[in-house]
Symmetry: C2
Subunit: 333 residues, 2 copies
């Protein structure tokens, strides 16, 4: 009745319990790879493609360093971190984005990141109370867009068309992603991201391999390795600027020292200097399942992680259920 051909194999990874029963189930796929592309852990079909979405932002920010734009404009590590961010639109995020624009002789009007309410609820409420309409700078991707624009200014590329898949900057990013992930350019699939720039898709394990490379510098040409480590260090030193208050990326980067970046539709990328990259995709795209699954896998790799299970609370503050992994992470090898 249902054609499962073409759907990648996955496995149940997390459950939401209510009372004595499982109420909902989240399936997913994951891979842990080393920089040579060896698969250290795998769940499901890891050769099948994923859209890393915002988890690709650290790769998309590489031209900022590689082109020399970051040096020409004197960008700080804080500004490099926000260029890799899916930020909360808290004031320090907006300040860092504005600073990239100012240093590149641009303004908020040049941003084409698309407007949405701040991800951080109290900032969103504040904006609603003020009667202001969300602007592109409030979009969680505005740092990425400011960074892309800075490269265009530095390189003399057109700024108005920077979102086009055929723009030289987007072609440059596609080439970098292919190189880092060990793919031919025609093996990288191009679609559209919600913020209007290309969304690239690659095999899940190719991304995990690329992540291991960019987190260690291994298996990359010297200049690319140096740029990757500069981005990595900027993010790890400023985890708050990469996401913000209450966000998993910020919490995990701060507490573990890993490079951590999430993406829409429940993607998480976590890279270790010890020489591995973990990529997780919850098949149904539900964010709530990312945390318990990621923590369980990281814990099994010897990373010191917080409590894996968390309570589901009702409107009266009482515990009505629990969310946690179904996954015995130590058995994944």
């Amino acid at each position: 009745m249902i054609d499962e051909a073409g759907l990648p194999e996955d496995a149940p990874l997390a459950a939401v319990w209510r009372g004595p029963l499982v109420e909902s189930i989240h399936r997913g796929r994951l891979a842990v790879c080393d920089p040579k592309g060896n698969l250290l852990e795998a769940v499901g079909d890891t050769e099948a493609y994923i859209y890393p979405r915002s988890a690709f932002k650290p790769f998309q920010a590489l031209p900022l360093v590689l082109s020399g734009a970051a040096d020409e404009f004197g960008l700080t590590d804080e500004e490099l971190a926000v260029a890799c961010a899916s930020h909360n639109a808290e004031e320090p995020h907006l300040d860092a984005v504005r600073s990239i624009l100012r240093k590149s002789s641009l303004t908020e009007g040049d941003l084409q990141s698309g407007a949405h309410l701040p991800l951080y609820e109290s900032e969103a409420d504040e904006l609603i109370r003020s009667g202001e309409v969300p602007r592109p700078i409030h979009g969680n991707c505005s740092g990425k867009h400011a960074g892309m624009l800075a490269v265009c200014v530095h390189e003399g590329y057109a700024t108005a068309s920077y979102r086009d898949p055929g723009h030289p900057l987007q072609r440059y990013i596609l080439g970098l992603i292919a190189e880092i992930c060990g793919l031919r350019e025609d093996e990288v699939i191009v679609a559209g991201d919600n913020c209007g720039v290309p969304a690239f898709a690659v095999p899940l394990q190719s991304f995990a391999t690329g992540l291991a490379r960019t987190t260690t510098g291994a298996e990359l040409p010297d200049e690319l390795a140096r740029a990757a480590l500069r981005i990595r260090d900027a993010m790890r030193e400023h985890p708050y600027l990469v996401a913000g208050t209450g966000r998993l990326d910020t919490e995990l980067m701060g507490s573990t020292g890993l490079l951590v970046k999430g993406g829409a539709e429940a993607v998480l990328a976590a890279g270790s200097q010890e020489g591995w990259g973990l990529v997780l995709k919850i098949s149904d795209g539900t964010h709530r399942a990312v945390r318990p699954v990621a923590l369980a896998v990281l814990g099994s790799r010897g990373v010191d992680v917080p409590e894996v299970n968390s309570s589901v609370r009702g409107l009266h503050g009482e515990t009505v259920g629990e969310i946690g992994p179904l996954f015995q992470a130590s058995d994944t090898a």
Copy 2:
């Protein structure tokens, strides 16, 4: 590695496409049953339990009619509809809830439905702008709670403890659910709902059978059948009061004449006067998958439904993907 024992069998039912690839997948289970309990269509393990959550509200409202409370207090069909609602907290919803309370000599202070921002975004924004804090009446379940309280007043039950699983009203509801679904009382599992009243779980196909019964009156004792049809008609005549602007239940009830009620964690119940009840549970609890799957199944049963697939739009208004069923509904029998 992963113990799938104890997890009910399900199947992929909907996909979210981005560009040429499936980005996310939603699995689920469903049953269509007639009032005698015959399984007319099935996907996955339909004997496994589900928590119908708010999809049980029409059953939870039956005591309002059966006890005589609705008649004593002169409740209108609009008020019966809001007693079955997961409402948007638009003004007509709040007015109807207030009217039930007033007719039962109660006030907003008696509601223990738990406070959350109105489900309808513009009402939520309005409340934020006004500086008001959400009150229990804004909770989507406040009509159900007002109805429960009205029964307590009519029956002389304690109103302060109406949420307790051992309260006579909650025991009464448990007994009704068992009777309608053809179960023993000890086969109904009791947990806690987010609004603080019991959340009951039953086998998916037992709920579909019960829904077929309450939508037709068939296979029920006369008094219960009459009460069920009165609730059914109140809901179908006032679909706006059961949910509100932009909501699937309201749209589908209005356009199809079916009895439609959704529940949290992606449950949908749709009952037809022609003698069947459809219950759908998206395994991962994601609401966005309910609509395409429900429409595909209903369409295959000859119901005139709107366009099944819908676009996923980016922040610039462009189409970046699509959500639709994977499921060839006509093949489910």
